[in-house]
């Protein structure tokens, strides 16, 4: 497991008990609830690819299984087979500000800066907003 992720793992599983760390590409898979009526499912698997430079470099985007659909508009996603995740979609989600600058701020101590749990909170919030 990526050493920075290992430092945070206890915190991650305390909030996402079904979280699982897998390899090739290294990623964390877990499940989250979705707002009723907003999506084709009430709950979905989510995968976050862990970049090799984590935590200095933050994750980008998240993956959901092919088949998840948003009610009323298409999911802003691309087929993820080319990144080694066939059967998944890579959702366009980026932690950037109005000027396009990254807002990810990492520190040596994961509790003081941006971290995986914080990133997942942003992902869940993005899904709840209908991916806008």
């Amino acid at each position: 497991m990526h050493p920075r992720l290992a430092e945070e793992w206890q915190d991650i599983v305390s909030i996402y008990p079904d979280a699982n760390c897998l390899a090739s590409p290294e990623r964390v898979e877990l499940s989250v609830s979705l707002t009723p009526g907003q999506y084709s499912l009430a709950r979905t698997q989510v995968a976050i690819i862990v970049p090799p430079g984590y935590r200095a470099t933050g994750p980008d985007g998240f993956l959901v299984p092919v088949g998840l659909q948003m009610t009323g508009s298409p999911l802003p996603a691309s087929d993820a087979a080319s990144v080694g995740m066939p059967g998944w979609l890579l959702v366009s989600f980026h932690l950037i500000d109005a000027t396009g600058q990254s807002t990810w701020r990492a520190t040596a101590d994961p509790k003081r800066g941006d971290n995986f749990v914080g990133y997942m909170a942003s992902v869940e919030s993005f899904l709840a907003r209908g991916c806008v």
């Binding site: 050493p3 970049p51 200095a56 470099t57 802003p76 993820a80 366009s92 980026h94």
Partner: protein, 446 residues
């Protein structure tokens, strides 16, 4: 076996331990393996309230302090070097017969508390040390190797006397002294990036007399490189030669018997492994992804890492032309502490081509523009960097680790940079050695 420790940290450790002189001092060092040796992760000096009088009048660590600190070391996954002082021993400091007896008991205790981890012992005085490490069956010698600029090294760490120096270095010896030339001639240097700046780095280091090179760059020479690539020729373009070939040829033309190892891509196991064995890394790369990898590797293994950056921006109303030298010395601030790493750029540099394609399709990827470049500008920055390397290894003056050169104003601005305790790069990496996991950057196709 060697224990690498930043010179500044060793000086602080020794000062703290000898503060209570003539009473003995004690500390536990947390250590990690690094290519067959050890690196220091952290030091815990015990204060007088944590020491108590032992059965035979010696000073012993209180049980509570010992248990607490061993617990912390165990949770951190570290090994242990226990340290105590013989303040009055001078240069001939060595373990006493009482120390020997206690060590034999302690090693059995540590074998239960920290199974499978490194264990050793040091005894220090103001003028020297003695060290041992446990192999599992016996104690063998542990050598303390302070790493840092020469002016900070303790006297006993500076090699005395001089080896014979080749007459070709006559003029250089008159500038650097015998000791200085010997220090340079003993160096193994990793040069990452062999373009406009990297080719000149190799050229200058070869002339200075560096012993051994590891050169890393997967690119081949093309015609647009010829105005800047030191040593490159028009037939290298025709023959589609690699830049590493040109670098090796350059070195061998100056001194035919210098070892030059070539590792094509930084993100290969061979390259990363080779870099952990050098005395200095010089980065002449054009992307922050590579800089992030080098910064982590250097911090983990206590290898000094000097990065050269050059930039020409003519689009502003005031053109900006210049560069910077960023010299990360062991235990000192890294490129991230100096705000010389753009993590968003590094993330893009390190992502897979497939990820980049998807982000470009979605309009979220930067354009990779071709940057302007000029050989004289590269030469100035490389020359300035070489002077800092000489300062570091010969002690001719203290190192100026971070500075910027402005070609338009024709001036150098020294930057005052301190190490950030919360740095996301050197904080987690510092002194982690082989356990830092730098191999996670390896690309299977590299």
């Amino acid at each position: 076996m060697e224990l690498r420790i930043p010179a500044l940290q060793l000086a602080q450790l020794t000062d703290q331990l000898l503060e209570s002189s003539p009473d003995e001092g004690a500390a536990f060092l947390s250590v990690r393996p690094s290519g067959g040796d050890l690196v220091l992760r952290s030091a815990r000096v015990f204060d007088r309230t944590e020491l108590e009088d032992g059965e035979y009048g010696e000073l012993a660590l209180s049980e509570r302090a010992q248990i607490e600190e061993l617990g912390r070391i165990k949770r951190g996954g570290h090994g242990l070097i226990e340290v105590h002082t013989h303040p009055l021993s001078g240069r001939t400091v060595q373990f006493s017969s009482f120390d020997d007896e206690q060590l034999r008991k302690f090693v059995r205790y540590i074998g239960h508390k920290l199974p499978g981890r490194s264990f050793g012992a040091l005894v220090l005085s103001a003028e020297g040390y003695d060290g041992r490490t446990w192999t599992g069956e016996a104690f063998e010698k542990l050598t303390l190797r302070p790493v840092g600029e020469k002016v900070l090294l303790p006297k006993w760490a500076v090699p005395s006397g001089s080896s014979a120096i080749h007459p070709r270095f006559d003029r250089q010896v008159r500038a650097l002294g015998h000791e200085g030339q010997n220090s340079v001639s003993a160096l193994r240097v990793g040069v990452v990036g062999l373009g406009g700046t990297g080719s000149q780095v190799v050229q200058q280091l070869a002339h200075l007399g560096v012993r051994e090179f590891v050169v890393i760059d997967p690119d081949r020479v093309d015609q647009t490189n010829l105005p800047r690539l030191a040593g490159a020729t028009w037939w290298d373009v025709l023959l589609h030669r690699k830049k590493s070939f040109v670098a090796r040829r350059q070195v061998r033309r100056v001194r035919h018997n210098v070892k030059v190892s070539v590792a094509g891509n930084l993100r290969s196991e061979a390259a990363l492994r080779a870099l952990t064995g050098v005395d200095l890394i010089v980065g002449s790369v054009d992307n922050d992804g590579a800089r992030l990898i080098l910064a982590e590797l250097a911090a983990a293994h206590f290898i000094p890492y000097l990065d050269i950056g050059v930039g020409i921006d003519r689009e502003e109303s005031q053109p900006e032309i210049g560069g910077r030298v960023a010299f990360s010395v062991p235990g000192g601030p890294c490129l991230a502490c100096a705000d010389e790493l753009d993590f968003a750029e590094a993330a893009e540099d390190l992502e897979s081509p497939a990820q980049r394609t998807i982000r470009m399709q979605r309009g979220y990827a930067r354009d990779r523009t071709v940057e302007p470049a000029l050989m004289p500008l590269n030469t100035v920055l490389v020359g300035l960097a070489m002077v800092e390397i000489l300062a570091y290894f010969t002690g001719v003056r203290p190192v100026a680790p971070f500075f910027r050169y402005d070609l338009v104003l024709n001036r150098i601005r020294i930057q005052n940079v301190t190490r950030s305790d919360d740095c996301a790069v050197c904080g987690p990496a510092l002194g982690m050695g082989d356990d830092h996991g730098i191999e996670r950057y390896v690309l299977s196709e590299a």
